[in-house]
């Protein structure tokens, strides 16, 4: 009788193991996709042209950088960079990102320049414990007299 019970336990154990193995391999592919998605979402955002050529706000990365380092910065229409940044971020996270956004995910975007972080799109829900998260990071190098590095981070979490 003991042998039968032992036999059943071993079979059930190996069955469970096989099931877990199948599930975890699919999960890793899904994670890889989410990492590519997060990285591409961030690089697409920072590389997109939003103003005239040669302007302080030519690309989104220029706008973020100039808003942080130069309070006097202005875009081609004469509005301040910080106003533009608010407007563009609002637009990106409401209109444009609707095409990019996936259901049941929260997005949080922040920039860091020399240790002073600037929250570009705030969603504290992404930092809640126990949530599955994917992050992407880009470093933008600027050479205006001295080399500066602007670090931009995107955090995506399950809602």
């Amino acid at each position: 009788m003991i042998i039968i019970v032992f036999f059943i336990v071993i079979l059930l154990g190996s069955g469970m193991f096989l099931l877990t193995l199948g599930k975890s391999s699919t999960q890793s592919t899904q994670d890889e996709y989410m990492n590519i998605y997060a990285t591409n979402l961030l690089t697409t955002l920072v590389n997109t042209d939003i103003d005239e050529k040669g302007s302080d706000c030519e690309k989104m990365s220029d706008l973020i950088y100039n808003t942080i380092i130069r309070s006097t910065c202005k875009c081609s229409d004469g509005n301040s960079c910080s106003e533009w940044l608010d407007k563009k971020m609002g637009m990106y996270f409401s209109e444009t990102y609707n095409s990019f956004k996936k259901e049941n995910l929260d997005y949080h975007l922040e920039a860091d320049y020399g240790g002073s972080p600037l929250v570009l799109h705030d969603n504290p829900a992404v930092k809640e414990a126990g949530k599955k998260r994917w992050t992407a990071e880009v470093n933008i190098f600027k050479t205006g007299g001295m080399l500066s590095v602007l670090n931009i981070n995107l955090i995506i979490a399950q809602s």
């Binding site: 039968i4 036999f7 059943i8 079979l11 069955g15 096989l18 099931l19 193995l21 199948g22 599930k23 391999s25 699919t26 592919t29 899904q30 890889e32 996709y33 590519i36 998605y37 591409n40 979402l41 690089t43 697409t44 955002l45 590389n47 997109t48 042209d49 050529k53 690309k59 209109e95 444009t96 095409s99 990019f100």
Partner: protein, 168 residues
């Protein structure tokens, strides 16, 4: 008396064998079920892996990107997409020799305008390209990633979405 004992022992043996057979049959069926589930899961993993590989390849390949070399950033050149659609059947046949069979890609510029399909007669006032589409509706895995699209007519880099469909 001994005969009855032997009969009882025999009965016990038969019942035990019967139950063992039921347990073994159940276990075999369970294992087969798990194996089928794993085959199914492996097949969907293969499809997802292929979709990921195609996505990476299409977004980085110099065949579509603005730069002639492979770079980290994904900037698709709109003229290359339009050129690929010029003789789509031949282009797709050649692309399938490189990337394999049964896939299609869509690239759409997210500019807030109504979607307008590009072809070789209209390549400036449009914002969407579809390449190598197949008429299969079942078992299609659809995955999308954000990409940048370089618009030659305006000399700007715009935000776009690349959708890869894997049919098998």
């Amino acid at each position: 008396m001994q005969l009855r004992k032997a009969q009882a022992s025999m009965m016990e043996y038969i019942i035990m064998t019967f139950f063992m057979m039921i347990i073994i049959t159940f276990m075999v069926m369970m294992f087969l079920g798990i194996q089928f589930m794993n085959i199914d899961s492996e097949s969907s993993k293969q499809k997802m892996d292929r979709s990921l590989a195609l996505m990476k390849s299409f977004s980085k390949t110099p065949l579509f990107s603005k730069d002639s070399s492979i770079t980290e950033d994904t900037v698709i050149y709109d003229k290359k997409l339009t050129a690929a659609m010029l003789n789509e059947a031949e282009t797709c046949e050649n692309l399938r020799k490189i990337f394999g069979l049964h896939w299609s890609i869509e690239v759409a510029v997210i500019d807030g305008e109504t979607e307008q399909l590009c072809d070789w007669t209209d390549y400036d006032n449009c914002n969407k390209w579809i390449l190598c589409e197949e008429e299969i509706t079942e078992g299609v895995l659809i995955r999308d990633i954000p990409v940048n699209v370089y618009r030659d007519s305006t000399d700007t880099v715009e935000a776009g979405l690349m959708t890869v469909k894997t049919y098998v």
